[in-house]
Every structure is written in C-alpha cells, then in structure tokens.
Amino acid sequence: MKNFLTICCRELAHHFFSPLAYLTITVFMGVTGLVFWGAVRQTLGEPISPQLLLFHPSPLWLMIIAVSVAITMRLIAEEKHTGTIEVLLTSPIDEAAIVLGKFAGAFCFFLAIVAPTALFLVVLRSFSVGLNSPDLGKIAGGYFCLMLVGSFYISVGLLASALTRRQVMAAVLSFSAIIVLFFAGYFHHLFDEGPIRSILLYISIREHVSDFSMGIIDSRPVVFYLSSTALMLFVATRAVEARRWKQ
C-alpha cells in the first residue's frame, strides 16, 4: 500500500510540476467551455437541463479521449525508454503496485482536469434569469459517468503504454482502441434487434451518459466500466511482469 502511494504521489508530482499539465488543463477548459457556450446559445428558450448541455456534446468526449491518451502515453513507455523501469523492477516493489500507483496518479490528474467544468454550470446559473435550481443529483450522476468512462480510458492508455517503449506508439494504440469503442455505440441503430445491437447499446457511452445525467443509475454500465478497467489493469500488470517470465 505504501509503495502504491509512493508511485501515485510521484506520478501526480510529475504531472503538476510540468508546464504541459497546465497547458492541457487550459486547452481542455477552453475547448469544453466554447462547446458548452455554443450548446447554451443553440438551446436558448428550450426547456433543457443544463447538465445535458455539459455532458452530451460529442466534442467534450473527444477532448476526454485526447486528454486520456495524452496523460497515459508516457506512463510506462517513458520509463522503458529512459531505463528507469530497470530501477523500479529491481527494487523491492510489486509490479501491481507500480501499475496501480501509476493508474491512480493519472486518474487523479484526470479528475483535476475535468473537475473545473463544474464551474460552467455555476456560471450559467449565476447569469440565467428564471432558470430552475439545478438538480445536483443529476449533475453528480453525469460526473459519476465521466469518472467511470475516464477510469476505463486511462486503463486502456496505461495498457498501451505498458506494451511499448515508444510514447507515440502507445498514443496511437490507445487512441485507436478508445475511438473504436467510442464510435461503436453510435452505430447501434444500423442493426435490427439482436445480439449485435444489444452489445453496441451496452458499450454506448452516449446511452450511458443520457441515463446517468437524467438521474438513472443503471448497474450494468457501472459493472461494465469497473470490470473493463480492472481487466485492463490486470493485463497491464501482466505485461510489466512478462519481462520476468522464464523463457
């Protein structure tokens, strides 16, 4: 547990001591802010919940994907490239602690990036006349969904980073995998009722976000994201351990 915290703290420190981190936060806030503003302008006068304006636009999710890939591409690939992985793996520290610590550090940084978007809702509320009080439960549902999706994307990125020593390759791998999963859910309407449609609906982020931001907490997507994240982390741990396997 202590080793896990040590690795997690190092990752967080690495993120926050880098100017790139603040640039990432600024760009993310700028783009998502513009998207939110555009959505508000388009729906002026319509009875629509503000949390839907925040969580539904696709550009937000594309930014989430980009941020997840940017955060995770270096996690293990950089250690392999610089050779510091040799120091880590020859220290008395478990591979699982390395992987989980890096995941936790990256996830905390991800939360630090997305958390300020809550300010959009506060600003909207402050400058809107006659708007009903926001439903905090629904907003929390939306952010809960964002956390689940974020943890899954970060675990995919971490796995990609564990498979290669080149950060660019890790970014391409994780971006490809995440983008396929992201858009797969959009094509469920192309299929008639059946197993393929069910599977696409099951992994459709758009469907999950709609449910969560309307206050419907369905256990199936929760299980899907948590189990997928756990699977990715398990495989990433095995990928790091593989170096020690007897050949």
Binding site: K2, N3, T6, I7, R10, H14, F17, S18, T82, G83, T84, E86, V87, L88, L89, T90, S91, P92, I93, D94, R243, R244, W245, K246, Q247
Partner: protein, 313 residues
C-alpha cells in the same frame, strides 16, 4: 553471497550467456571483464532480477533470484549501465523516492539514510539541484547514492564509470573503496587498469562464458608464464649475453642498446629467481649495474590472450 550455476540466457537463436558458473564471497569486490557483447550486462541483469534466465540457477544471499526475487531485491543495490534517473526531480527528492520504494517508510530512518548517503557520495553541494542539470560524474554519484540508500549487502554495478573523465573515475573508485558499510560488490567494466586497482578478483567473460578467474596479479602471472627481468648493464654486449644465458633458470634473453648501456630482458622459468646470480655475475666481471627489475604481464595482456584463445576454440 552470490552463487551462479550453469546459467544460460538465450535471446531467440542468440546465446548471450552460456553455462556460466561462478561464486562471489562475502565482502569481495569482483570485476566482470569482457569485450562488448560478452554477456556481462545480461548476467548482471539476471542477478538483479530484471531478466529471467533460460537455464541454470542463481542464488544471492541464499535466495533464488527466480523463485524468491523480492527477497533478493531487498538485499541487492543495482546500478544499471545507463544510470537511469528522473531528470525532473531534485537530488534529494530522487533519493527520498528511491528510499521509499526500497522499503524505508519511517520518516526518521529515511532522513538519516539520505543524509548518510549524501555525505558518503559527496552530494551536499547539489542536493537541491535538478538531476537533469547535473554533470555525468554527479549523476553517477546520485545513482550510487540511490543504490546505497537502503544499506544493501550486495552491490551490482554495471559499467559504473562509463562516460566519466579520468579524474571523475578516480573519485568514483575512491568513493567505492571508502564506503563505511562492508559490501559485496560485483561490477562490470572494460577499463582494465581500474579493475587492477579496485578488485580482489577478476572474472573474464567471452562469448557468454567465464574464460579466466583469479586475482589480477595471479592472472597477470599466467600470461607471462614465468618471470621477466629487465637488467640494465654497462658491459660488453656479447660477453654479457653469454654469461647471462649461462645462468641456470634463464630461458630467454634479448638485448637493446641504450647509449653506453644495454638493457637485457631475461626470461626465466616459472618459480625460479635468478636476481642473485645476475648480481654475482655483474660483480665478478666488474660491470656496472643501474637497474634490475621484475616485469609482470598486465591484465590487458591476459584479457587479449584469453579472449583470443577462447575465440579460436
């Protein structure tokens, strides 16, 4: 402390280490020599639990590196060849991080250990500087300090002075010799002159095998077979050659003129000492003698001889 038995490591069809066996006793400083691609780094990486072996056994401090690697990692300090460090960290932060991942979780103990290694490695002046801004010499010291922070019983150092200038190399070896805690050290290098001064024993590797193992002095003796004396005399060349060749135990003789003097290189049988007879010959003939000196082969001679020999096999 370290026992390697029939160790083999293959990468695909390439055999990096082949049936390697050796032992290192407690407190010994042993040098692993070999040309590029001899298998030194692979061997050290297996010993440090970074790579698995294809075959054979390695035990360190009584623990098997394959089945009980966590116990081995607790007692081994490993310095990889490239000296990988986190350049964005300050020296003190790097040492704190290393101390934590090496299991020193008590804040007080951690501070004491970091203070000790900073003093031992002479890092006081740079402890708050970024690792990425340090010179190579200081980076090596930081890496060594990180190795020593948990007082490991065994140090495994892969090319610890690679890329350092002669003055920095000298400082590094002085540092290693002066470590207060007695360590068992296994190090690899291709700088033979340094090994002669630092190591009690040398293992010479070629093509994944140990081709020679002994103290540097004994190894140097093996390459010259017997003994070679350099004798500088003021004497008639032919007469001196005749008289010196007649001494029992002399197996070879050559002469180089040096102005009014001659330098005779006298080869003798292993175990025979003819210095007394040479001196008596000089006195009896009323010649002048200005030097009589034993010449030993160098470790470099040994290295070239054994690697060429094993290459021909």
């Amino acid at each position: 402390m370290i026992k390697v038995t029939h160790l083999t490591k293959r990468f695909g069809k390439t055999t990096a280490v082949s049936d390697l066996s050796f032992e290192v006793g407690k407190g010994e400083i042993v040098g692993l020599l070999g040309s590029n691609g001899a298998g030194k780094t692979t061997t050290l990486r297996i010993l440090a639990c970074y790579l698995p072996a294809t075959g054979g056994n390695v035990t360190i401090g009584g623990h098997d590196v394959f089945t009980d690697s966590m116990a081995v990692r607790k007692i081994v300090g490993y310095l990889p060849e490239g000296v990988p460090l986190y350049p964005e960290m300050r020296v003190i932060e790097h040492l704190r991080f290393t101390a934590r991942i090496k299991g020193i979780h008590s804040r007080k103990e951690r501070s004491e250990r970091i203070h000790d290694v900073i003093s031992a490695c002479c890092l006081n002046d740079v402890e708050h500087r970024l690792v990425g801004q340090l010179s190579k010499g200081y980076r090596r010291r930081v890496a060594l300090a990180a190795c020593l922070v948990n007082k490991p019983e065994i140090l495994i150092l892969d090319e610890p002075t690679l890329g350092l200038d002669p003055a920095q190399r000298r400082q590094f070896w002085a540092l290693l010799r002066n470590l207060s805690h007695p360590h068992t050290v296994l190090l690899s290098t291709h700088l033979l002159s340094e090994v002669e001064n630092v190591c009690q024993r040398v293992l010479i590797m070629n093509k994944g095998r140990v081709v020679a193992s002994d103290s540097p002095r004994n190894l140097a003796g093996t390459v010259t077979g017997g003994r070679r004396l350099s004798v500088e005399l003021q004497a008639p060349r032919e007469a001196a050659m005749k008289q010196l060749r007649a001494i029992s135990g002399v197996t070879g003789l050559s002469c180089e003129p040096q102005g009014a003097w001659h330098k005779f290189l006298v080869e003798t049988q292993s175990g025979s000492d003819v210095r007394q007879q040479i001196f008596e010959t000089v006195v009896n003939n009323d010649w002048s003698l200005r030097e009589i000196r034993s010449e030993h082969g160098t470790l470099e001679d040994v290295f070239v001889a054994v690697t060429e020999e094993s290459g021909l096999e």
